[in-house]
Symmetry: C2
Subunit: 425 residues, 2 copies
């Protein structure tokens, strides 16, 4: 798992150039199509391996899997089998897809196993129990602190001592392709006497990634940084939609609530920690001594290129942000150790988002709030339009991939159209 | 449902004087015992009506209930049948328990239907999807603001304009009788250079009540105040355990996280809105004009007596707080309208706690933080001990009941023993 050199692999499945879904990746997701009820698959190239059909055809008979474990509308039961088993399944499928392996390639059921990705509808990959949103990018926290508080003291005193985070709303996490409505709510301009009510005027994205846990814990116990990755199944891209005007008025003293809870969007393919192993990298050096429970023995950062595009309705897309997951100050092992250090129990399917991933360059800022600096520097799109925040009809798309020595492992995308506020209610 | 006069009812079940579980109440819960797997029951006196046995004996044959709907480890599927159906079930059981009704009283299966409450273990009544904690007591928010900010401006500017709330951790909500471990974490004394780590030294309870939703909504839609109660199944007592030292260091700027997520405790019997109807009361008059979506046409307050007792290990219990649910400034209709006004969807089993319920008198303050005023006025217990916060070995018990014209509807209790921090991790 810690190896840095990747053995070159070739598959009998044709994989388009620059595909995120190479033989090295093999992410898990939940899909359906006109014929098929929801089930678990793995992406490769333009295909999905239907794991349920593979199971029915006896390809997993050498390992002990429960009946119909892949005929589910979430990965939760599969993930609950534990990482040794889920790793084994991924390895077996990878083996089956190798060029020299004819077991599936020449099998009569090959056509049934290999589903066209274009014809599939991707569903939520997991049932999210609890969802935490961290705040782990120093650049993002500094930008926000500079804008709203004091440039000299942009970071709060606790920021370098613990991975700040808060609980988010799990019910409104939706997969890529699900349009969202502009939220309504209260906001108050600094010079206004009273709050007013209406559709948010400052709808924003936040470029984030999220990990998902598969190995639960009991209340009263904690996870150490060196054990953390044994609890983590994989990652998705995460758009933490934010209504800045609602958030600004509501968030003191108990934190974000309705400014966030109307929607969060994720990419549907869960890329495993195993697939990301070659892209492991150091996190930024801690600038304050860390308490022992936050100290790490290994690298838990990942070099993952990220980008955000805005496409106004009927117009071309402009990439407005290029960032990288490796910029994060706090890593996943620290986040999970902190989440559980007080004895908080975690469950299969819990989700933990990183917080907005901003880098040092202006072009790497992960939200419109930062890119257009609170509306003072609107962004010009390639189609000629300007944006300070997201407008109705815009589609926001986030993409991410890791690449090294010709090996590419990507996330696909999370793409979301914004509709006007709902009239009712 | 809005009637204020209650028709006198008498049951053939013997109901001890001052029982919370009268013929007027009939709360729902999930129980098991040595013989019985988890199932749904209703409390009456010292008994539990086993609804699964009642179903199997044909008592519900006139209504259309799914097979084994009561043979579940949560109320979620039953609640999802909708309020007309769950109301009907409660009414049918109430009818069966009336003195003059012999259908169950003289039935051969009566012994099997009526389970001794003492022999039953109560489980979590619902699977909680999302959990919100509001902050709806003006007295509590004022006390906290006075202690930590400015007595002249104790309430934040938003407080009288919206029911402030935040998302809490659902995984660590446990039923009465589940001991909890003292949480560990980071805290920093104001005069300390660096944060330190260890078991919390300021463990506190918060006296709250929580409602549970049974009627889900879709993303992008909102619930109006006049529709809110059709989405609410019932109430439980809620102890929102808090580690004040962890909370104080972590909570800026994103709100409470590890200072709360280690545990919350609830009473196991869900008292329905229908049972509470006779105790409906006005909420305090709004002190600021409300935006239309927060205006109410009816009374949504309830006159429910609440108390908190502390019992050091092996000693007698002292009641340290007597409060009332009616003190809350924001009511359940406003809370649910606010939660959904941005289009946030709700699910069956979601839980919404009130925030600490403090009244105007010192003796009605709903947390140790307020009762002992930040440790400056320790409370003397009847056993002679003093308390500023909760100590290892203490059992904290919250009780609640409504009473009017000889009709009593109560919640039983949520009682939790505090154990030392867990050594591991």
């Amino acid at each position: 798992m810690k190896e840095q050199k990747v053995k070159p692999l070739k598959s009998w499945v044709q994989i388009p150039k620059n595909s995120d879904f190479t033989i090295y990746n093999l992410p898990f997701g939940v899909f359906r199509n006109k014929r098929l009820s929801p089930r678990i698959g793995m992406a490769i190239g333009d295909k999905i391996v239907d794991l349920h059909v593979l199971f029915c055809e006896g390809f997993f008979s050498s390992i002990h899997l429960p009946e119909e474990v892949f005929l589910k509308d979430s990965l939760n039961e599969f993930m609950a089998l534990g990482k040794p088993m889920t790793r084994k399944v991924r390895e077996m499928v990878q083996e089956l897809l190798l060029e020299e392996n004819t077991a599936l390639k020449d099998h009569r059921a090959r056509g049934k196993v290999m589903v066209n990705r274009k014809e599939a509808k991707m569903l939520m990959p997991v049932k999210v129990g609890d969802y935490t949103d961290f705040y782990s990018s120093k650049e993002h926290a500094t930008n926000v602190g500079t804008m709203f508080r004091d440039p000299e003291n942009a970071l709060m005193p606790n920021w370098k001592h613990l991975p700040v985070g808060y609980h988010g709303r799990a019910s409104s996490i939706v997969p890529s392709g699900t349009p969202i409505h502009r939220p309504k709510g209260q906001f108050k301009a600094p010079d206004a006497e009273k709050p007013s009510f209406g559709p948010s005027r400052r709808l924003d994205f936040e470029l984030e990634m999220a990990f998902i846990t598969s190995n639960p814990t009991k209340m009263g116990t904690s996870i150490r940084t060196q054990e953390a990755e044994e609890h983590i199944f994989g990652f998705v891209l995460f758009n933490d939609w934010s209504a800045r005007d609602i958030q600004a008025w509501e968030y003191v003293p108990l934190g974000p609530f309705l400014g966030k809870s109307f929607a969060s969007s994720i990419s549907p393919w869960v890329v495993t920690l195993e697939a990301l192993a070659p892209f492991r990298t150091k996190s930024p050096k801690p600038e304050e001594p860390l308490l022992p429970y936050l100290q790490c023995e290994q690298d838990h950062g990942f070099d993952i290129h990220l980008e955000v595009g805005i496409q106004p309705e009927g117009k071309q897309e402009t990439i407005v942000c290029r960032s990288n997951y490796k910029y994060l100050y706090w890593n996943i092992a620290q986040q999970l150790a902190h989440q559980t250090v007080n004895g908080c129990n975690i469950n299969v399917g819990d989700m933990y988002a990183s917080g907005t991933i901003s880098g040092p360059e202006e072009s790497s800022f992960g939200s419109m709030l930062e890119l257009a600096w609170k509306g003072t520097k609107p962004i010009r799109l390639d189609c000629g339009a300007e944006r300070s925040f997201i407008e109705d009809g815009d589609t926001v798309t986030m993409r991410g991939y890791a690449e090294k020595d010709g090996v590419r492992v990507g996330f696909g995308e999370v793409s979301t159209a914004v509709m006007p506020s709902n009239g009712k209610g």
